[in-house]
């Protein structure tokens, strides 16, 4: 009997589903997102089931696994709709959360308001206790001050409590003791311990991460529990997993405890899918871009490994758990073009969003947007948007651009539209350049992978700007995050501070710490039956003495024990990586180790894509129509292809446009496109300009 795996991703506008059959068939669909996200989830499953002529119950009963990308925790944090949360911390330090190590988002603007206090000061309470950096207890925990604090939080009816004491990453005794007291006095409350959420040095980062976990935890836990119950009621007997910010999936029990790991649950799917597709397409080093209506997400994949960071801020709060490194700028199809006080043309960061949306949506918006420019220039066909499900109003697009930009600047409507696309492309190229250079990479060494509805309209130009030779627009690009959910492996990341000079490193301590982390990781993955096939990656965050930022250096060996020769090689790798990222190294300088990270991947049964044999190069069977398209002020009559009809092996010289459901691909003059054997569009950029 065939069974199904479902990847379901909830986005701002659409809920996407990809259903992968055990016989290799793949189905996908989009339904509108709903305010209770689980409604959209059920609707998407029903849509697939009905397409297969199955009822929901029978389809669900043949579903082995559902992997869910959700924005429940993200939205709760971004909209500050989390639960009432308290913080218990070491006396004398309850304001560290508000101090933020003095960080402010803007150094020039004194009028910048503070972030919303997700734990206001009256709910941040200090208790008498102190542990030093070696783990020695200097002041024993004062149980009565603890009880007072807990009772005070109880009287304020908090639903969640974060506990974060100084040096708990060395010695968690006091935090554990406080947690016991909390459970005794408030048995129902959600508890987050910093020594469990992020047992790492740096109190602000640890506190903020733990507080965020406490703030959104009860919501995601409740959501997943009710979704799971409903699925069970409807005949689902398989497993429900959640996509995490680290690009791996996890059981709902774990995700409920570690809500902070689900903050990038949505976009992580797309990055994961990119690495997967990159392997088949043969491009291991990728810059992935996801251009939606309001935001533009950039991430870097090197050698099929997505880049991970611990330096994320979300909703103005610091979350220091390892997450996929996704850089977001305010640029998308809905970005509004406007003339500023100095008479300069600006595009974004303000967006028309989905309502009223671009002028051409005809929903009352009259500000010209990037999508309006795309329509005016002929990149987007008003009648083929979303497969014709929504007809755009080209006149409104033209009027908005002409009246608000053209007349102001004394430019023709076409030149105004070209100026808008030039500027948005440049903003995006600069974002990509900054993201890569900041890490010591050269964008020219990468292939650009464009996903999301608007990405492939602009990707060709951005590649030219950046000197990138190839752009991939993957098959299933419009439901790419859901695809990634469907493919992703299970993954847990464990971290632990082990602060020592490399010269003084004790191999026994190192091995036993990694061993403990591995056991803990396996324990976290034990509550599932999908796989017992684990892959281990051990990473050591190191730096030269005196530096502030660490370099995560993977230990190449995956053998049982780390030996002194492994460490010798690790140190060599550190110098090399340091030079690569920071442009200098110093082999005589002392090195210190800060944090150990262990990534345990539970390998799921691999879903192999079947290569489709190449057909002829000739692509004329795919021709749909032609139209005037403005790549510059002079229009070119451009052939338009129906993406559905194109076959592996087909070749199309630019300029050309490929339209398929949910996305439009623009092949600029001088570029060409070939369909590979997995139905991905591979665009070669001839006129790459180095910048």
């Amino acid at each position: 009997m065939t069974t199904w795996t479902l990847g379901i991703d909830v986005g701002g506008t659409f809920t996407d589903i990809v259903a992968i059959c055990s016989d290799g068939a793949i189905e996908s669909a989009k339904v509108p997102s709903t305010s209770d996200q689980s409604e959209g989830v059920f609707n998407s499953i029903e849509k697939i089931a009905s397409r297969l002529n199955r009822d929901l119950g029978s389809f669900l009963s043949s579903t082995e696994l559902i992997v869910h990308g959700t924005t429940v925790s993200t939205n709760a944090l971004l909209e500050y709709q989390g639960v009432k949360t308290g913080l218990i911390t070491t006396e004398g330090f309850r304001d560290e959360l508000e101090f933020r190590r003095a960080y402010k988002e803007s150094v020039f603007n004194p009028r910048l308001a503070p972030p919303h206090a997700i734990v206001p000061r009256y709910l941040r309470l200090g208790v008498k206790e102190r542990i030093d950096h070696t783990g020695k207890i200097l002041t024993p925990l004062d149980v009565s001050s603890c009880r007072d604090a807990i009772n005070q939080l109880k009287s304020k009816q908090v639903e969640s409590i974060a506990i974060c004491c100084l040096f708990s990453f060395v010695n968690p005794t006091h935090e554990l003791h406080i947690a016991d007291l909390v459970r005794e006095i408030m048995p129902e409350v959600y508890i987050s311990l910093s020594s469990e959420i992020l047992p790492e040095i740096r109190e602000f980062e640890r506190t903020s991460t733990t507080v965020v976990n406490a703030y959104v935890g009860p919501l995601i836990a409740g959501y997943l529990d009710s979704l799971h119950t409903n699925l069970r009621k409807n005949g689902f007997t398989g497993e429900l997993f959640v996509m995490q910010s680290n690009g791996g999936v996890q059981t709902i029990a774990e995700a409920s405890k570690r809500a902070v790991d689900t903050l990038l649950s949505g976009p992580a799917g797309g990055v994961t899918a990119s690495a997967y597709i990159g392997r088949y397409a043969g491009y291991p080093d990728l810059i992935t871009v996801d251009m939606g209506g309001t935001s533009y997400d950039v991430s870097v994949i090197q050698d099929l490994q997505p880049t991970v960071t611990t330096e994320t801020w979300i909703g103005r709060y610091r979350t220091a758990v390892p997450m996929l490194d996704i850089h977001t700028i305010g640029a998308g199809g809905g970005s509004i073009a406007w003339i500023d006080e100095g008479g300069g043309l600006q595009v974004g960061p303000r967006s028309a969003g989905a309502t009223p949306g671009p002028a051409c949506y005809g929903r009352g918006g009259d500000d010209p947007t990037v999508t309006d420019a795309d329509v005016v220039l002929g990149y987007i066909d008003p009648h083929s948007f979303l497969g014709g499900e929504m007809v755009l109003d080209a006149d409104k697009a033209e009027n908005a651009i002409a009246s608000k930009i053209g007349e102001e600047l004394g430019l023709s409507t076409i030149d105004s539209a070209l100026a808008i696309t030039d500027i948005i492309n440049n903003n995006m190229s600069n974002a990509m350049h900054f993201v890569t250079t900041k890490r010591g990479y050269d964008p020219r060494d990468f292939t650009l992978l464009a996903m999301g509805g608007a990405g492939s309209v602009h990707a060709g130009r951005q590649a030219e700007d950046l000197g990138i030779a190839t752009v991939i627009v993957p098959n299933l690009s419009p439901v790419f995050c859901a695809l990634g959910d469907g493919f992703a492996n299970l993954k847990v990341t464990e971290t632990k501070t082990y602060y020592t000079r490399a010269d003084d490193l004790d191999l026994n301590i190192l091995n036993s710490l990694f061993r403990e982390m591995e056991l803990r990781g396996k324990d976290r993955l034990s509550n599932q039956a999908t796989t017992s096939n684990f892959e281990l990656r051990r990473i050591v965050a190191m730096r030269y003495v005196g530096e502030v930022h660490e370099v995560p250096v993977p230990i190449r060996s995956r053998t049982l024990r780390i030996t002194s020769l492994n460490i010798t090689n690790l140190i060599k790798d550190f110098h090399r990586l340091h030079e690569k990222i920071f442009a200098h190294k110093d082999e005589n300088q002392s090195i210190e180790i800060l944090t150990l990270r262990l990534e345990l991947t539970g390998i799921r049964r691999t879903i192999d894509l079947a290569a489709i044999p190449f057909e002829k190069e000739d692509s004329s069977h795919g021709i749909k129509s032609d139209r005037q398209v403005y790549f510059s002020s002079d229009p070119i009559n451009t052939t338009v292809y129906d993406g559905k009809k194109l076959k592996p092996g087909n070749f199309i010289p630019g300029p050309a446009i490929i339209e398929q459901w949910g996305t439009t691909i623009v092949i600029y003059p001088g570029q060409e496109v070939l369909i590979d054997s997995y139905n991905n569009c591979v665009i070669e950029i001839g006129s790459a300009i180095e910048l």
Binding site: G126, I201, D415, V548
Partner: protein, 580 residues
């Protein structure tokens, strides 16, 4: 205007801004000393050059008080090497009397040549960990002349035609206490400049020199237009303001800094003529430092999206008479100028602006009491700790927001070290780091509360303290109250305590001695009697203020159940307003 005129300006300016940001990211990540990668006390910028005249065309948001100083330093470096500049040269400079601020702020720059002509110059200006001289770290309250501040570096080539000049490096390192850090930091600055030069070269090759020059001119004109529109929205007239420096660390108290600010349509002039003469202590401000603080103050008063370039400066003139505290004659010592009188210079400008652009001023909070400690750890190594926790804080209010967090954005982008990391790295224990109730300037928008910090050293320690903002705390605006005063007490042992008046030099404390800081809270904006009662009650709930503070500062009467008595509050507020 054609489409290309409009777009290319944006594109080229955008590329240069990104390059400046990339330089900044490179310096942060590659520098050795914490003052770079943790305190972010540096700035990166790009200049264009026409006939040996440089002009600021792009700058990354970094330490705002380095803003103008970098302009002056690049000019003086170009002047020095007029006909002797070559591709691959890298110049270092730090001379307070030739485009500098205080000696620790050093500039590195490298010219990009196209067709044998320097076209663009990426530059980094940064606060170095040590600069030789009598005192580690470069703050010497006993300095009586500039040579006692540190080692002056006139413009020098440290890299010549791509080759590192070992002799120059050796000279600099030989006069420095932290040569390893310093060389690492200089390498990071040089690396960032080289990276930028490579990127800039590609921009020029892509668009051509002519187009790049024209686009940058357009970008500067654009900022100038925005700036003119901003100044044009301020009230025309002449406005006077004065403030006082606590002392010059030599017993001279209450030293005036005065400014006369004139707004005439879109032009602004700022005249410091009636300020004090230069003083014997190290609180003199060389011209570039004075202008930097003027612009740091103004940069906080304008829209954030105005690109920072020379256009910002063109409509503003600054008059600072030679021989005064804001433009001393050589060899007056200037070591503390980036704190004092920098803070007072910015403050007095804001106090004048308050009268013509009240909604623009705020965040007056730079009066830092510095306290550096050093000692020998159990492993025999010397440690130097800047005690950042003790004196960061005191963010003032601005129109639209209470002061919040710790350090305010007007002056710098400092990031505090972590307490845990500090205790791992130094023989120290931090016992407290927390807001103090009722210890800020009240206002319609209030300042951030002051911060109490207690730092114990576990070995014998030696400390220098330079008090500031104790006699004259930061000033409030538009009826907002002044900030709270700073205070530092050395808890030498169980029986001995010493409250620092002006300064202590090399104060020795046995193991267990502690520094106890009360960093004053920020100043307020607007009348505290107008502050909504609900906000006062929130502050009370959160312990930022007490019941007594609610009454004393805001006229809000609260009963013993912490419930506001509206009737009494109304009459109390009315009574006080009448007696204004």
């Amino acid at each position: 205007m054609t489409k290309n005129d409009i777009v290319l300006t944006r594109l080229i300016a955008g590329s240069l801004e990104t390059i400046a940001l990339e330089m900044s990211a490179t310096v942060t990540r590659t520098a050795r000393s914490p003052i770079f990668n943790e305190a972010h006390d540096f700035t990166t910028a790009i200049f264009d050059v026409t006939r040996n005249q440089s002009r600021l065309v792009a700058q990354a948001p970094g330490c705002t008080i380095q803003l103008y100083a970098i302009v002056a330093a690049v000019d003086s470096a170009l002047k020095s090497f007029k006909h002797d500049l070559h591709p691959g040269d890298v110049i270092i400079a730090s001379d307070p009397y030739d485009g500098g601020t205080h000696i620790p702020d050093q500039v590195i720059l490298t010219p990009l040549f196209i067709d044998r002509e320097p076209i663009l110059i990426p530059a980094v200006r940064a606060h170095m960990g040590d600069v030789g001289g009598p005192v580690p770290g470069g703050y010497n309250p006993r300095a009586r002349d500039i040579w006692q501040d540190g080692i002056i570096i006139p413009p020098l080539k440290i890299v010549e035609k791509g080759e590192k000049r070992r002799d120059i490096f050796d000279l600099i390192m030989a006069n420095n206490r932290l040569p390893d850090w310093l060389e690492g930091d200089l390498d990071a600055m040089i690396g960032a400049c080289k990276l930028a030069a490579t990127r800039l070269e590609k921009v020029v090759h892509r668009y051509g020199v002519h187009v790049v020059r024209k686009s940058l001119q357009d970008a500067v004109s654009y900022t100038k237009r925005r700036m003119a529109a901003e100044i044009g929205s301020w009230k025309n007239g002449t406005f006077h303001a004065e403030t006082y420096i606590d002392h010059d660390y030599l017993g001279n108290n209450d030293i005036p800094v005065r400014c006369t600010l004139t707004v005439q349509d879109s032009k602004l002039s700022i005249d410091f003529s009636h300020s004090a003469k230069q003083v014997d202590g190290f609180v003199n401000s060389p011209l570039a430092n004075t202008i930097s603080f003027v612009f740091a103050a103004i940069a906080g008063c304008i829209d954030e999206d105005i690109p920072i370039n020379e256009g910002l400066i063109e409509n503003i003139s600054v008059i600072a008479p030679l021989g005064s505290i804001v433009n001393p004659t050589m060899p007056a010592p200037v070591g503390n100028c980036t704190c004092i009188p920098g803070a007072e210079i910015a403050e007095v400008v804001l106090l004048a602006l308050e009268q013509c652009a009240p909604k623009r001023v705020g965040m007056n909070s730079h009066k830092l009491p510095l306290a550096y400690s050093n000692g020998i750890d159990t492993d025999g190594k010397r440690w130097v700790n800047l005690n950042f926790f003790g004196y960061t804080g005191g963010a003032g209010a601005a129109y639209g927001t209470d002061g919040w967090g710790l350090y305010p954005p007007l002056m710098t982008g400092v990031i505090l070290p972590s307490i845990e990391m500090t205790e791992m790295q130094y023989p120290t224990r931090i016992h407290q780091h927390e807001y103090i109730s009722d210890f800020m300037g009240a206002g319609f928008w209030r300042g951030a509360p002051g911060v109490e910090t207690r730092i114990e050293y576990l070995t014998t320690s030696h400390t220098n303290v330079m008090m500031a903002g104790a006699r004259h705390p930061t000033r409030g605006f538009c009826g907002g109250k002044d900030g709270a005063p700073n205070k530092i007490v050395l808890e030498i042992d169980r029986t001995n305590e010493l409250e620092v008046q002006e300064t202590v030099f090399d104060a020795t404390m046995p193991p267990g001695g502690a520094l106890h800081f009360w960093r004053g809270g920020g100043s307020g904006w607007g009348d505290p009697l107008e502050r909504p009662v609900s906000k006062v009650m929130e502050d009370l709930r959160d312990g930022y203020i007490t019941v007594e503070g609610a009454l004393a500062d805001y006229g809000v009467v609260v009963d013993c159940d912490q419930i506001v008595d509206e009737k009494l509050t109304n009459s109390e507020r009315k009574r006080r307003k009448a007696s204004h």
